[in-house]
């Protein structure tokens, strides 16, 4: 197995173009599990931990651009004020050891419907920046992930980062159901992002991809912030989910839990905005 360790972004894109079968790795929290259990033997590993460009984030017009190599620990410490929903979701990832290594780019690349960082990104209307030696492009996140662990990344492309819109006076919330508070894959999760005239949502771990609950969004954007509206919102979110029965929970439980999470999180968000 080849081990490619480019020192910068240009070199990383060239290595990717020359080795389309290389498996990119940063924190290893998904990739190394596959290697340790001999589930995959890639022709090459493309280690991106030495690419300084990936570990940066910066404010951009209308939002924040986060490099793919920013870890959950850093998202919590450095971006909690601007992106509270993403920080809340990041706090629920694994353990300190996992949050110190796992990155937002890895969550995007793995494209699991249970990826904890994904619902707040969907709810905010984020776009994924991918690049190759041919150039860079930004793809709306709900067009980037197309199925369970499937995305539209080209074979010569790498995930450069993600652009997350930041809206004035937005209230964001995230909630997740699992069997304990740490080290748990979501049974289901929900993110909501409420700003003036706009409500963004996303259901996690209850469908082949994270899912925006569009009807619920339209309803909440014009609803008065009252208990009955929060309940109606919860029901619309549950109806938008597409859950299955699996080892972590039944479809019926997920749908019920989502209605509760949605009702609670929209209530919290409304309270924040009214305060």
């Amino acid at each position: 197995m080849e081990f490619l360790q480019p020192p910068g972004w240009r070199e990383a894109l060239e290595a990717r173009a020359a080795h389309p079968d290389a498996l990119p790795i940063w924190g290893g929290t998904d990739v190394m599990v596959e290697l340790n259990f001999a589930r995959t033997r890639p022709a090459a590993l493309l280690d991106l931990t030495h690419v300084p460009e990936l570990s940066r984030w910066e404010s951009e017009d209308g939002g924040v651009r986060i490099g793919a190599g920013v870890t959950y620990t850093r998202l919590i410490a450095e971006l909690g004020d601007r992106l509270p929903g993403l920080a809340m979701a990041s706090r629920t990832v694994g353990s300190p050891q996992i949050r110190n290594r796992g990155t937002i780019g890895g969550n995007l690349g793995s494209s699991s419907p249970a990826g904890d960082a994904l619902p707040p990104l969907y709810a905010a209307g984020a776009s994924v920046e991918v690049a190759s030696v041919r150039g860079a492009r930004r793809i709306p996140i709900d067009e980037f992930i197309v199925g369970p662990k499937r995305n539209v990344l080209g074979e010569d492309e790498l995930i450069a980062g993600v652009f997350v819109p930041v809206r004035d006076d937005a209230a964001q919330q995230f909630a997740k159901v699992g069997t304990r508070n740490a080290m748990v894959i979501a049974v289901c999760s929900f993110a909501v992002d409420v700003s003036e005239g706009r409500v963004g949502t996303c259901i996690g771990s209850a469908g082949p991809t994270p899912i925006r609950a569009r009807e619920a969004e339209a309803f909440a954007a014009s609803a008065a912030p009252e208990d009955a509206a929060a309940r109606e919102f919860g029901e619309l979110v549950a109806a938008a989910a597409s859950p299955i029965d699996d080892v972590r929970g039944t479809a019926a439980y997920r749908r019920h839990a989502l209605s509760v999470l949605a009702r609670r999180t929209i209530t919290w968000a409304w309270e924040t905005r009214c305060a």
Binding site: M1, G28, V33, S95
Partner: protein, 153 residues
């Protein structure tokens, strides 16, 4: 590949390393440092916790090639001398926080990281910091006692 790194303050050079093997494997099988334990190999149990350049990580999730030129500190590297215990290790012994002992090295390193960041953690902060370290012998009460006592020391 040849792997060059610094482990517990000593420069090390190891030949014949497979790039895709884990840092945990390198430590245990190639460097005779068995303190970091191998249990789950998927980042779930924390038994293999080490510092990689001062960051607490599961060594089973770090590819050997990623350690090139880096600094690693394992549980073996915490005590000041061969004959002494680190105060955190002493606190675990004193509190009876060790039963079979398999999870202990990982808990010691994770506690070391916690107290370096936060010398007086609340119980909730201790629980959150140690949430990635599993003990299957018993409850966590004695472990919490040990961390509280190490924090006061």
């Amino acid at each position: 590949m040849r792997l060059t790194c610094v482990v517990n303050g000593e420069p090390r050079e190891i030949d014949g390393v497979w790039e895709g093997e884990s840092l945990l494997y390198v430590l245990r099988e190639r460097m005779q440092l068995p303190g970091s334990k191998n249990a789950c190999e998927q980042g779930e149990c924390g038994s293999c916790s080490v510092y990689l350049d001062d960051v607490l990580v599961c060594s089973c999730l770090v590819a050997a090639g990623q350690v090139e030129g880096r600094t690693v500190t394992t549980v073996e590297g915490l005590a000041p001398t061969e004959d002494e215990l680190h105060p955190i290790q002493a606190a675990f012994v004193e509190a009876g926080a060790v039963q079979c002992g398999f999870c202990t090295p990982g808990l010691i390193v994770a506690t070391h990281d916690l107290l370096a960041r936060n010398p007086s953690p609340s119980d909730a902060e201790i629980r959150e910091a140690l949430a990635g370290n599993l003990c299957r012998c018993t409850g966590y009460e004695k472990i919490l006692d040990a961390v509280r006592s190490a924090a006061e020391a």
